[in-house]
Symmetry: C2
Subunit: 205 residues, 2 copies
DNA sequence: ACGACTCTAGAACGAACGCTCTATTCGGTA
DNA sequence: TACCGAATAGAGCGTTCGTTCTAGAGTCGT
């Protein structure tokens, strides 16, 4: 069922309670992790009540966390799609993506890292649902990079392998940058990934 | 003051209470994160009492977390030193390191990832001490890789830059492998890092 | 006008949290 | 032997946790 605001087709200025809860949960868990984020904090910052939270997510905190990860997944996938489209050459596009990520991370005062890592880490053993949602997110992002490489003429195997390393390296570099409060890891990862992509292109031609 | 067992020079079979607490805290926080790990759980699994924990760590949970990260730092530095010494060629050594990490991760049923990431993530904004200890760990590991590259003849700038990316990529690949419960990210990261190192060596010669 | 239903609202529950406190045991030194 | 500080031991503090519960407000078809 949709709320009045949604039915009226109002713009994003007013958003449904459920969506507000998911967005808030995603942002808070991204910053504080699963255990560091309380349901009450989520409901307060989302301007919702506990009743609403448990109405929309009868599965409780775990169900909410899964939805939060899926939200972060979609969010980053859109961002990545845009960044990959910024240049025809995949090496250039990925280096640009690294710089964009570095800028956003610095702008948030090194607080907003990967939207799924903090939530997934530490819950993997306890909550298979959360771990699975995080794995799906990684796989989706990898698929976007792979498609970009395939479109640029890379062979199927090379594209898949490179996509794995691109996502891993970006993820790790964002982590290192966040912990060190320094964008150098992301800058260097971007440059090295571009160099690696070009090296693989040359060896396979 | 040291305990009787330590003074007597007994082997690792008996270890002091303080060390036992630190090791347990490091292992638990590695798996469950900072907020997911309780002081009481640590004291129980370390076969110590709450009184002992607060006797050795009057700064409470935060002080204990800093010591836990430092412990993980030293532990991984030793592991990395050994892996880097396994081959003269740094490219081979790092690829071997990735494989070793993959094996250990799989062996722990994808539970024991990086010993500092889970603890540092989510506490960065709240606890500067913890964030600083994690940053120091990353810097130390990077220094080890840089020294290996320098010893193999890489120029200072190239070695430092590559070391950044090696640590970032290994970190991210371990994360991806843990979340996906699949060692492919670590295997590919090792192969690609070796390829990247060789490419840099050739361009600078 | 009216039941049916969705959603909002927040008090209250037991459990667990980090931490403080006092009491007790123990080994080394005077 | 007497003593002292290190270390152990755990009851209990106030707070917060995730969750449940009942009550009310808003909106629809009929």
């Amino acid at each position: 069922m949709r709320t009045r605001a949604e039915r009226a087709g109002e713009p994003e200025t007013t958003v449904g309670t459920r969506e507000r809860i998911v967005r808030t949960a995603s942002r808070l868990m991204q910053r504080q992790g699963y255990d560091g984020t309380g349901i009450k904090q989520i409901s307060q910052e989302a301007a919702a009540t506990l009743g609403s939270v448990y109405h929309f997510f009868p599965g409780g905190k775990q169900e909410l966390a899964v939805e939060a990860i899926r939200h972060g997944d979609r969010e980053f996938a859109e961002l990545l799609t845009g960044m990959l489209a910024s240049a025809e050459d995949p090496a250039e596009a990925i280096e640009a993506a690294a710089h964009t990520l570095a800028g956003q991370l610095r702008q948030s005062d090194w607080v907003d890292g990967c939207p799924v890592t903090a939530t997934a880490l530490g819950t993997a053993a306890r909550a298979p649902d959360i771990q699975r949602a995080a794995a799906e997110a990684f796989a989706r992002w990898r698929g976007l990079v792979e498609a970009k490489l395939r479109a640029a003429g890379f062979a199927e195997g090379d594209a898949g392998d490179l996509a794995h390393t691109v996502i891993s390296a970006l993820e790790g570099a964002e982590l290192a940058a966040q912990v060190s409060r320094d964008e150098t890891p992301l800058r260097l990862a971007g440059a090295h990934l571009a160099q690696l992509i070009r090296a693989v292109r040359n060896t396979s031609s």
